[in-house]
């Protein structure tokens, strides 16, 4: 049991920055550049962990606690998510609730640390994050409701079809809508275009980036690592729905899982390159569209079953 937990954490910790690298490589391809190496995030994180931190006079212990809570939250979350052939070490009925609320806990501390710096820049990011999280939670729970109706279970592993793959020709219509809705929620939670621009640091475009503006050194490394792991874990929730293949051979299943993850990274990179970030009052409407899609999936499920 402890071994499977450690193995799970090992996979998440080592693979998460790789996908950030893939996304920036895809964006570079679309821009006609060669782009940084796929392993660049690893070098960045190693460099950050060797630096010291500088703290603000205004900050209190909440600021110091923020990065720790973010990373612990996402690591505990990853224990409930299956990664391809690696089954989730902790599976129980209702683990989706703990998942959603652990995300909320790390969000609380991120917003509180942003307010702790006493700057209006960070307060702006905090206020926007507080608003968009309301809408993305709504969309996320609507998806959970539909998946619970489809799979008759409230445990994440069964709901995304990680052990028994979901049959697209039976459940097809609702699944298309769920995948679309979950993808928009994924973009919103991980601060990707069209919700937030992870590259710039201008107040027009920032939500997540501005909240971590005052972090430096090891704390900043923690925050970046937390964000990378969150992207990895939330993408791996989508993969079993999109790639409903289960051969039983561990190596082949891991290959399919990695293929699915790379596919999602490619799509995220393509979306980031082909779209501009939406105006902030339009981002709310995008999340409402995600909710409407999930609601439509709910209606179709009720109709069919």
């Amino acid at each position: 049991m402890v071994l499977s937990i450690l193995l799970h954490w090992l996979v998440v910790v080592f693979l998460a920055p790789f996908f950030l690298g893939v996304i920036s490589r895809v964006k570079a391809f679309f821009a006609g550049r060669k782009g940084p190496s796929v392993f660049q995030p690893y070098f960045d994180l190693a460099r950050l962990f060797q630096k010291k931190c500088v703290y603000s006079r205004t900050a209190t212990w909440v600021f110091h606690l923020g990065p720790v809570v973010v990373v612990s939250g996402v690591l505990v979350l990853s224990l409930m998510v299956p990664l391809g052939a690696l089954k989730a070490p902790v599976v129980f009925s209702g683990d989706i609730l703990l998942l959603a609320y652990l995300l909320a806990l790390s969000r609380f501390f991120m917003i509180a640390s942003a307010m702790d710096t006493g700057s209006s820049f960070e307060g702006m990011g905090a206020s926007r994050e507080a608003f968009f999280s309301c809408l993305s939670e709504l969309a996320l729970f609507m998806n959970f409701v539909t998946l619970a109706l489809l799979t008759r279970s409230i445990s994440l592993t069964k709901m995304i079809g990680a052990d028994v793959p979901m049959l697209w020709n039976v459940l097809g219509p609702a699944l298309i809508l769920i995948v679309a809705s979950l993808f928009i929620v994924l973009l919103a939670e991980n601060c990707r275009i069209p919700v937030d621009d992870p590259e710039t640091h201008l107040e027009l475009t920032m939500i997540h980036e501005v909240m971590i503006l005052d972090y430096s050194g090891v704390d900043f490394g923690y925050m970046l690592y937390g964000a990378a792991m969150k992207l990895f874990v939330l993408s791996s929730i989508l993969v079993p729905i999109i790639v409903p293949v289960k051969t039983g051979l561990m190596a082949l299943d891991m290959l399919f899982f990695l293929g699915g993850m790379l596919g999602i990274a490619l799509v995220i990179g393509a979306v980031e390159s082909c779209m501009a970030r939406l105006r902030l009052n339009r981002v709310g409407n995008l999340l409402l569209i995600a909710f409407a899609l999930a609601f439509f999936g709910f209606v179709v499920t009720l109709w069919r079953f």
């Binding site: 010291k52 703290y55 809570v69 612990s72 820049f121 905090a126 206020s127 309301c134 619970a148 409230i154």
Partner: protein, 612 residues
């Protein structure tokens, strides 16, 4: 487990009958803890007023309130219940009027009294209906009587506003946001923590007596819960005064409890006792939890107000440096109320969510839609509560001080002693209880579930809760893994950074160094986007802010969220009533003799009628 105790009492139809059962035990636990904690806190809070105000009256009514609360929960007879209910209403009125030199306090107390008595009037009607059908005023005897479905529905419809006024359901909640800020903080804590819960206790007791209610009652309670919850937290988001915000949050949590009760009723009407037990048990656990964390939050707010002499969040800031212990305790209360893991709010919300999801999979179509609505409402409430409490915690405790209300360091460079131990110890006790229920919830959960089973009139232990206690065990073990992981990460960071202290400078914020404390986000600007998104359901008003002329001078802008219920329904209604009574006043006959003659005629009429 019923322990019955009765005395002969001279009041007609009345009987001093007390009964302690599991349902009452749940509420008694909450009452006991909070009365003791708020009482000890009150000693410290009232110390500055020692020479200036009559404290004896205040503590006298505090004791009367404590006794009345206990009697309400234990009462087994209608007259005793209503007597204790009135005693509670009146003692709370006198407690609210501690600061009666302020007109707003007097208005708040008066509004509370009127609202309370409107509710009590409906309660009188309802209880007499029930006693008439059952033939006795004793709750036990009434519970053995059978009520026809139409009558049961009518009684339920009378109970909802009757107890709902006290509980704070949405359309009739208007006294709450005035009474809570006006009262001293320990009274607000008691009011919000237990006095409101007596309304919920009343509804539970009526449900227990009625036994079987028509199916639509569950849907009605669920919808009231959804509306109260979502609108309550939206109103709370728009407030900038600390205690008024906490008052609206109580309305939201009452909504969550109502959702749980509605789910329980739905489970019972569809004959699924497990779901019903989850709904009722989750609601009862939330009663205890809310008493604990709302009490903690109000006591913390009281400490802040006593130190800074203002409750306006936009005048505060940076209090975590001045009052470190209070900020930790307030944070624990804030994390609990948002329902975040590691604390007790998550446990009761977990039970209610679990029940709703089971209902989603088990009920027919109408139930599925109701459960889906309940889940979405709970999710929205949780996210909005998170936004609200990050706003409160960030604006009050974090950042830079926004005005001179925040105490500065003394001449020697240190902070004054934070606050008196009378006030700190109850807060530490409540925070400890929140964490205890959050990390070791089995005792409290079993208590709540046995109360729920009693409410469904099932023998104790008849419902198998393993299906929900096994996931709960996983949740607790993951909570401990989280704590261990956080400690490990702190140690790793300490190792990486080395033993020397880290350099300290000004906030970087992208290089803007001349930004002062007044440009920080205030409570209104933090929730600006949310208020804008919900502007069709909220009466959000902005006054001023226009810039006129070529060389504009100073201008004022203020924003407020007006309570729709108060503004559109009750205020016009009261104005109309006052106009009506003024008309009657003008036409009043001036001679007393004419009224005496009316009494005389009526007396003759009664005598003639009775003698015939």
């Amino acid at each position: 487990m019923d322990k019955v105790y009765s005395l002969i009492w001279q009041v007609p139809f009345g009987e001093f009958a007390l009964k302690l059962d599991f349902l009452g035990l749940v509420f008694l636990a909450a009452i006991a803890v909070l009365v003791v904690c708020a009482g000890i806190y009150g000693i410290g809070y009232m110390l500055p007023y020692k020479e200036k105000k009559p404290l004896g009256f205040h503590f006298f009514f505090y004791f009367i309130l404590a006794i009345a609360l206990v009697l309400i929960v234990l009462a087994n007879n209608v007259i005793l219940f209503l007597g204790a209910w009135e005693a509670m209403t009146l003692s709370v009125y006198f407690l609210i009027l501690f600061h009666d030199e302020k007109p707003s306090t007097r208005k708040a107390g008066f509004l509370y009294l009127i609202a309370g008595h409107c509710g009590t009037f409906l309660l009188f009607l309802m209880f007499f209906l029930m006693a008439q059908t059952a033939g006795s005023m004793n709750f036990d005897v009434m519970s053995r009587a059978s009520f026809p479905p139409a009558l049961a529905g009518l009684i339920f419809l009378l109970a909802l506003p009757g107890f709902g006024v006290k509980a704070g359901f949405l359309p009739v909640h208007i006294w709450l946001p005035h009474a809570h800020p006006a009262a001293p903080s320990q009274v607000s804590a008691l009011l919000s923590g237990v006095a409101i819960k007596t309304g919920i206790y009343g509804i539970c007791r009526i449900l227990w007596i009625l036994g079987v209610v028509p199916d639509w009652c569950g849907y009605v309670l669920l919808i009231i819960g959804v509306v109260s919850g979502v609108m309550g937290v939206l109103y709370a988001l728009g407030q900038h005064e600390l205690k008024r915000l906490l008052a609206y949050h109580s309305i939201e949590n009452i909504g969550i409890i109502a959702i749980g009760l509605g789910l329980g009723l739905l489970g019972r009407s569809h004959n699924l006792p497990f779901i019903a037990a989850l709904g009722f048990g989750g609601a009862l656990l939330h009663v205890i939890n809310h008493a604990l964390f709302k009490g903690l939050l109000f006591l913390g707010a009281g400490t802040v107000i006593q130190r800074t002499h203002t409750g306006e969040m936009d005048q505060l800031g940076g209090l975590a440096k001045v009052m470190p212990l209070t900020s930790v305790l307030f944070l624990i209360g804030a994390l609990s109320i948002c329902g975040l893991p590691l604390f007790n709010g998550f446990i009761s919300e977990f039970f209610i969510y679990f029940g709703l999801f089971q209902g989603l999979m088990g009920f027919p179509l109408n139930g599925v839609i109701a459960c889906g609505l309940g889940i979405l409402a709970l999710a929205l409430m949780g996210a909005l509560a998170l936004a609200c409490f990050t706003k409160v915690f960030g604006t009050v405790f974090l950042g830079e001080p926004r005005s001179a209300h925040v105490p500065a360091k003394t001449a020697s460079g240190t902070w004054r002693e934070e606050t008196s131990p009378w006030m700190l110890l109850p807060m530490i006790a409540l925070a400890g209880l929140c964490s205890w229920i959050g990390l070791a919830p089995l005792t409290a959960s079993r208590l709540a579930f046995s109360g729920g089973e009693y409410l469904m009139r099932l023998p104790a232990g008849s419902v198998d809760f393993a299906k929900v206690f096994v996931p709960l065990a996983f949740v607790i073990s993951l909570a401990f893994v989280f704590i261990a992981l956080a400690l490990a990460l702190i140690l790793i960071r300490r190792f990486l950074l080395g033993p020397l202290p880290m350099p300290v400078g000004g906030t970087w914020a992208c290089g803007y160094s001349k930004v002062g404390p007044r440009s920080q986000y205030t409570s209104a600007s933090f929730v600006g986007p949310i208020m804008d998104a919900f502007k069709y359901v909220l009466l959000f008003r902005k006054h001023g802010g226009q810039v006129t002329g070529e060389f504009p001078g100073k201008t004022h802008v203020s924003t407020a969220v007006h309570d729709a219920s108060e503004e559109t329904v009750f205020s016009p209604f009261f104005t109309f009533l006052m106009g009506l009574s003024k008309k009657f006043d003008e036409n009043r006959i001036r001679y007393t003799q004419i009224y005496l003659m009316y009494i005389f005629v009526f007396l003759i009429f009664l005598l003639v009628w009775k003698i015939r």
